[in-house]
């Protein structure tokens, strides 16, 4: 199977690899997928005000899964939380030219963004002002 140049680029030079301190109140963590399915994505955001100022990821999965999550962190950095929520998996499919059998990778990346934001919002509600 041939990979698109963009998938190869993200695979070879993944952006924003790493971890943020998940205990911090302004950090949201999303972990989606399952090892049995061959994909696990961890995506974290650091929020200042309503803007995502930093994002990190780690992914267990195929090259397309790695590229999808790498791209996701690149896209959400600098966006507001609401803007990040609006990202749709089809945009990732388009940007990376993913074949049909790899569309689930983009779905997972979208889920990871939403899950990280949910976690952040839950923390905000739990934290007394």
């Amino acid at each position: 199977m041939a990979y698109s140049d963009k998938v190869l680029d993200h695979y070879n030079n993944p952006r924003n690899v790493g971890s943020l301190d998940k205990k911090r109140d302004n950090v949201g963590t999303g972990v989606v997928g399952a090892p049995e399915c061959g994909d696990v994505m961890k995506l974290q955001i650091e929020v200042d005000g309503d803007r995502i100022v930093d994002a990190k990821f780690k992914t267990f999965g195929c090259g397309s899964a790695i590229a999808s999550s790498s791209l996701a962190t690149e896209w959400i950095k600098g966006k507001t939380v609401d803007e990040a929520l609006a990202i749709n998996n089809t945009e990732i499919v388009e940007e990376l030219s993913l074949p049909p059998v790899k569309i689930h990778c983009s779905v997972l990346a979208e889920d990871a963004i939403k899950s990280a934001i949910d976690d952040y919002k839950a923390k905000q509600q739990a934290t007394p002002e």
């Binding site: 989606v32 090892p35 061959g38 696990v40 267990f60 195929c62």
Partner: protein, 405 residues
């Protein structure tokens, strides 16, 4: 050293230059149809086929008349199972096979199930072996054939064929073995091992693609088949179709070389494999060997690199041509049925890579490949949230992932 490095000898092998040289005249000046009895062109073809038949038979301890040339193992498997099934249906319509067979056997059995046959799929041990006891327990009065792989194509595990052959003969059932990966790698002798039908394929033993054969026992017992290809009655009526003379010359020469060089080939591959595994296991943690350490092909190494997904690893080792048991290389998204049957978890199945070493693999190539694999695994583990958990003392296997989809 040429790149990429080929470590996928279970998938196919290059044609040995000596085999190619033997084949070439049969494309051009000796092009005759082996069935043309009336002229020298035909006689030259027939003579070449006779010689090749002897060479193939000799490698597996058969007599030349017991060799039926086919287009490869898949066709031979179809002929063996469907042919025996149809011929012996009145004796019984029960077939015994295993869960770790090649798809060609499994799908042929599925076909026969639709024709009213009953098939028992034996569960292997965790290392992929089918024991004599398991076979004995599954045999019935109406069992017409037992079909078991000799050496597994994914993990290289060797089945105790000789013991199973003895059992089958005692219990009056025929034994078919898919020996595609075994022939040329380990000693195979249909008499000593009590095999009634056996298939092999030239391209797994340094011969050309598109040619293989089915061994069909002629004595004690005489095995009869219903042909699956009707036509001119070639191959004693068992497989019609003009003989692929250059291919047959190729499989013959390839078998002759294997017979002469089997010990050297085995030792060569084993030494390279042990060198590879020695370093992989010394330098990386959380690495699992799939298959049977003791009863295994000398040239096969199937390894799971936990917390790294197989396809991404293959992508990371650009210079090395290998196969993965991971889902993502096939369109099915299902991990290997062989690893699954061995009880390997889907997570480790997704992390498995098969390395195959062969006649033309060099030490330099293995060292280069080993370095690449180690570097790629380390890099991908830096990216792996699962490996991070393990470093933090969390066992990913203990987590309920069901809510994370």
């Amino acid at each position: 050293m040429d790149l990429p490095i080929y470590l996928d000898y279970q998938a196919t092998t290059p044609v040995d230059p000596r085999v190619l040289e033997a084949m070439l005249p049969y494309f051009t000046e000796r092009f005759g149809n082996a069935a043309s009895r009336s002229h020298a062109f035909g006689w030259a073809g027939e003579e070449a086929v006779d010689r090749a038949r002897k060479q193939v038979a000799s490698l597996i301890g058969a007599s030349p008349k017991e060799i039926v040339f086919t287009s490869g193992s898949t066709e031979a498997i179809n002929l063996a199972l469907k042919g025996v099934g149809e011929m012996y249906a009145s004796k019984g319509k029960h077939i015994v096979t295993s869960q770790v067979e090649h798809k060609a056997v499994l799908d042929t059995c599925k076909h026969l199930e639709k024709q009213g046959f009953e098939v028992t799929y034996l569960e292997p041990s965790p290392t992929g072996r089918v024991s004599v006891e398991t076979v004995a327990a599954a045999l019935r009065e109406d069992t017409c054939i037992v079909a078991l792989i000799w050496a597994n194509n994914e993990i290289g595990t060797l089945n105790p064929i000789r013991e199973i052959g003895e059992l089958c003969h005692e219990r009056n059932a025929l034994l078919f073995t898919d020996a595609t990966q075994a022939v040329g790698k380990v000693p195979v002798d249909v008499e000593r091992d009590g095999v009634d039908l056996l298939c092999l394929s030239a391209h797994k033993l340094y011969g050309p693609k598109g040619i293989g054969c089915l061994y069909v026992r002629r004595r004690n017992p005489r095995v009869r088949l219903v042909a699956q290809m009707d036509g001119g009655g070639h191959e004693r009526g068992m497989r019609s179709g003009t003989l692929n003379v250059p291919g047959i010359v190729g499989i013959g020469e390839a078998c002759a070389l294997c017979e002469r060089e089997l010990d050297a080939d085995s030792e060569h591959a084993r030494a390279l494999r042990d060198r590879f595994e020695g370093r992989i296991f010394a330098e990386l943690d959380h690495v699992h060997l799939n298959g049977d350490r003791e009863h295994r092909l000398p040239n096969c190494s199937n390894v799971s690199f936990a917390y790294v997904e197989g396809e991404s690893l293959i992508m990371g080792v650009n210079d090395v041509a290998v196969s993965s048991g991971s889902a993502c290389t096939s369109a099915s998204l299902e991990p290997s049925h062989v690893l699954r049957a061995c009880g390997v978890g889907d997570d480790l199945a997704h992390s498995s890579i098969r390395f195959g070493f062969g006649r033309f693999t060099t030490e330099e190539e293995v060292d280069h490949a080993t370095q690449e694999v180690i570097a790629a695994v380390r890099r991908l583990r830096e990216l792996s949230p699962l490996y991070e958990m393990v470093q933090e003392g969390v066992d990913p296997g203990a987590i309920d992932w069901s809510g994370s989809h």
